[in-house]
């Protein structure tokens, strides 16, 4: 990697990290949801800053080409994140269902009381 490319990449990753931190500060993101994103961005900064960092690791792990390891890791993390999101959606779904049911039953109770009072 040329020095120019390194600097450009470093700037991009830093912007990315700043965006995440800003969203947390604005309370649009809960911190437990984006810890993984912060870890990823720190890893990216390390990979950009230290020359031959990725190559050394991939050689030691036995990957033939460094890009193979990068693709493998990216896809693995992506799968993991998507699965976690599915899990989360599923949980939120049941919570919403329960909420709708409880509110509807409560509504009915309120209406029943109102009818009794009218009589």
């Amino acid at each position: 990697m040329s020095l120019n490319l390194r600097i450009v990449l470093l700037v991009i990753v830093c912007i990315y990290l700043l965006v995440i931190i800003k969203q947390i500060k604005n309370k649009k993101l809960q911190i437990n949801f984006c810890i993984i994103w912060i870890i990823i961005s720190i890893l990216l900064i390390i990979a950009v800053c230290i020359p031959n960092f990725i190559e050394t690791i991939s050689n030691k792990l036995g990957f033939e080409v460094a890009s193979n390891m990068v693709f493998f890791l990216t896809i693995f993390i992506a799968f993991y994140l998507i699965f976690m999101l599915t899990l989360k959606i599923s949980q939120e779904n049941s919570k919403t269902r329960e909420l709708i049911q409880e509110i509807s039953i409560l509504n009915k109770k309120i209406e029943d009381y109102r009818k009794k009072e009218d009589k």
């Binding site: 269902r97 709708i100 049911q101 509110i103 509807s104 039953i105 509504n107 009915k108």
Partner: protein
């Protein structure tokens, strides 16, 4: 014995009033509750104007969520028997007594009104594809639970208090009828079928569309297998502890 009919209704403006009238004609003291599942037509208006006992779900939940609301209501109001009854006029009120009987006599915890019991087949038989699907689901349940259920997708069912409690805590949402059957059988409860007659739909749309049939069967089969595994695991845990 306090008995309640749970009637889920989604866009049933044409049928719901007839169904409620039929129930009142059949037995005036019978409690029933209509669950309006976020209908987009005039169902809610009809329910309010005719002073029908109903719960109005503030958002559409699908048949499973609607029925579960009914079970929650039944459980909290101390009903001993809950009967699931369709809001589209497919089910015949005459059979309410038959379907309750095994529960009252404590012969079963869950009683299904079946269209397909040998010798008592319902006059109205659905399309070939539907029956094929039903046979496949029936076969899957036979394999996983070792019990033959002739009409696993029937929405005409009576349950006792233990199952009301169970369903109010957990009720499968996506494919409620066959899935809930598996969970009930797997947890060691007794399931019985009685013959009933069902009418053709008077109006409205079935929740299962013909073109979705194949994907429905595949998904239900997977759901049955997954459910039977989960309940086996749970049972083992109970024995251990």
């Amino acid at each position: 014995m306090k008995i309640i009919l749970i009637i889920p209704a989604y866009n049933e403006e044409k049928n719901i009033l007839n169904v409620c009238k039929a129930i009142e004609e059949y037995d005036n003291d019978l409690d029933y509750i209509v669950i309006n599942d976020g209908s987009t037509d005039n169902t809610l208006k009809i329910l309010q104007e005719n002073n029908i006992n109903h719960i109005n779900l503030i958002s559409n939940l699908g048949i499973g969520g609607a029925v579960q609301t009914g079970y929650k209501y039944a459980y909290r109001n101390g009903y001993d028997i809950a009967i699931q009854f369709d809001g589209d006029g497919q089910h015949d009120v005459k059979y309410i007594k038959n379907i309750c009987e095994p529960i009252i006599n404590e012969k079963a915890n869950l009683c299904i009104g079946s269209r397909y019991i040998k010798g008592h087949e319902s006059k109205f038989q659905s399309t070939f594809m539907r029956r094929l699907g039903k046979n496949i689901i029936s076969f899957m349940i036979k394999i996983c639970c070792h019990q033959k259920i002739t009409d696993p997708t029937s929405g005409f069912r009576a349950v006792d208090r233990t199952i009301i409690k169970k369903f109010s805590e957990y009720y499968p949402v996506e494919y409620p009828e066959p899935e809930s059957l598996v969970t009930v059988i797997k947890s060691g409860e007794k399931v019985i079928e009685v013959p009933v007659n069902m009418n053709e739909r008077q109006g409205g749309k079935s929740s299962i569309h013909a073109w979705k049939n194949v994907s429905y069967i595949v998904k239900v089969s997977i759901a049955i297998i997954v459910n039977s595994i989960r309940w086996k695991g749970k049972r083992k845990n109970v024995i251990k502890s």
